[in-house]
Symmetry: C2
Subunit: 318 residues, 2 copies
């Protein structure tokens, strides 16, 4: 018997998403939300739901995670991902990992099969080998669009300025972090985030996504779950995910906590971004201070989604 | 003209410090506190003070940071460090970095010379080369004691159980994270943390220390600064540093915030550790739930320090 109404919230990145990939972004988050919700409706765990949702987003080349990840300064893909179980507070993350298709699955293996929370670089790949995670040809993760973007942006600085502060329709393709938060029928909350980072980033640069509690990902059943996106370094400075959780712990509602935290990030460190959230009472929330963010929510057999600030579409799920 | 009374707090790690290194641990934190306080008294910045203090602790082989870092499962040293400026909220960190003497200095270079907050593994070492940081022979950082400890602990799990939960006098030598928090004459707060991690850790394992805001290090002038130590994975789960800051932001005094947060970590995830803190009003605080923690405070020309739960020594500084 279900004690709680399951709910899932998805994001596909907060940034100036260009028009030519807006529909693909909408479709990607809808697909991920449907998949996660189906798992929850069949009694699956919040952890299984967020992992499955993020796998779909990693496999979809329109998002900057897994296939379609941005290239770093050396023209290589290094990916970050994290997952957290709000019941045990167990967390797993990988950073600067290469040559695997689904970093979120490796992050879950770190959580469940090691005594650690975060493995990086070669060490993360060594662990992947131990777990028999198939190594893939790096070129299979590189899309034509990411390669063009990398060639366009010679300097990381210009990438940050352009992508987070302006919508550039002339850009070949875009990107950003993906994430999912879910509450299952038993009231358990989980959150997951995955990213390829920012085009032209330094080799070994780690953004916010694998930093449990800083920003990327935080989940604690008693309060709620959060996944963030946007300019990683700004999110780190303000500890966005934990900040949202702290406000909710003090009694603030999820929507207000998300909005207030993103406004603080904007005023204190001039950083733009977005976040999704589910409170312990099952209230879903999202907000973004970038031009656009692809989002989707599934609850009570209804799917809602959007991309532009005031856009909200609704359809019944069967 | 000085507007604020400078203050600095140092820790040399919270764990079951064995008797044979207790005096060296006390002396190390005292030396670091004196050095940082001298800088502050001469009008130096909080950032300069915490960096200089941590350099002293990294150079002292009795602490698990820089020279004297624990060896990982492969018998190698991989170090983590982070620093944060409470005025700008700029932060810099390195993780799983090898072959350099003072990771805290490289963390500061990440903060000041890149657009990123965290560089890991080979990428961190590439950046060190760019900055002309001298590469050192890894064996110069390995102490006989750490080598013996590595040989003793074949499994990471047993290391965690033994070191954080029991005092084992038969251990050849000990270790743990070091850290410093300072407020300068202009009321600016900075925090820094550095560690070699846990003996037998997996290659690429990153603990709490480089995770700004999670635990290792957080500083924001309006509220305070924190540096944490203890079992990194527990600290990550609870987001210890940011948790302390959140409690202080809600009006709690520094000492109560530190104690309450460590108690929460103990009850929620059964993790032991310690933390040091300075509030925006200049109140220093520290607490630990492990058997011992080496700590030192310098304020108003008085140096205080201790190691055991009720130990507090005081001397006038000239």
């Amino acid at each position: 018997m279900n004690k709680v109404e399951p709910v899932v919230v998805i994001h596909g990145g907060a940034w100036a998403i260009p028009e030519n990939i807006s529909d693909a972004s909408r479709n990607g988050v809808k697909l991920a939300a449907r998949k996660a919700y189906e798992i929850l409706k069949h009694g699956g765990s919040a952890l299984d739901a967020v992992e499955a949702a993020v796998v779909i987003l990693e496999d979809e080349p329109v998002f900057d995670a897994g296939k379609g990840s941005c290239l770093n300064a050396a023209g290589l893909i290094e990916m970050d991902a994290s997952i957290m179980d709000g019941t045990s507070l167990k967390a797993g993350a990988v950073a600067a990992v290469a040559n695997i298709s689904n970093p979120i699955c490796l992050a879950r293996m770190v959580m469940e099969q090691t005594d650690h929370c975060l493995l990086v670089g070669e060490g993360a790949n060594m662990f992947a080998n131990e777990c028999n995670v198939p190594s893939v040809d790096p070129s299979s993760l590189v899309t034509e669009a990411c390669l063009e973007e990398w060639q366009t942006f010679e300097k990381y600085k210009s990438a940050v300025d352009s992508l987070f502060n302006n919508q550039i329709n002339s850009l070949p393709l875009g990107h950003d972090t993906v994430g999912a938060v879910a509450m299952d029928a038993n009231g358990r909350i989980a959150a997951a985030t995955s990213t390829g980072g920012i085009t032209g980033k330094r080799v070994g640069r780690v953004g916010d996504s694998p930093l449990i509690g800083n920003v990327g990902t935080y989940a604690i059943d008693e309060i709620g779950g959060v996944s963030c996106t946007g300019h990683g370094e700004s999110i780190i400075k303000i500890c966005l995910a934990k900040h949202i959780i702290c406000l909710m712990e003090s009694g603030m509602r999820a929507q207000e906590a998300v909005e207030q935290s993103l406004q603080l990030m904007n005023s204190r460190v001039k950083g733009a971004g977005g976040a999704i959230c589910i409170s312990a009472s099952g209230e879903p929330a999202f907000h973004f201070t970038t031009e656009r963010m692809a989002w989707a929510i599934a609850k009570a057999d209804v799917l809602s989604w959007g991309l532009d600030p005031n856009e909200s579409n609704v359809e019944k799920m069967v």
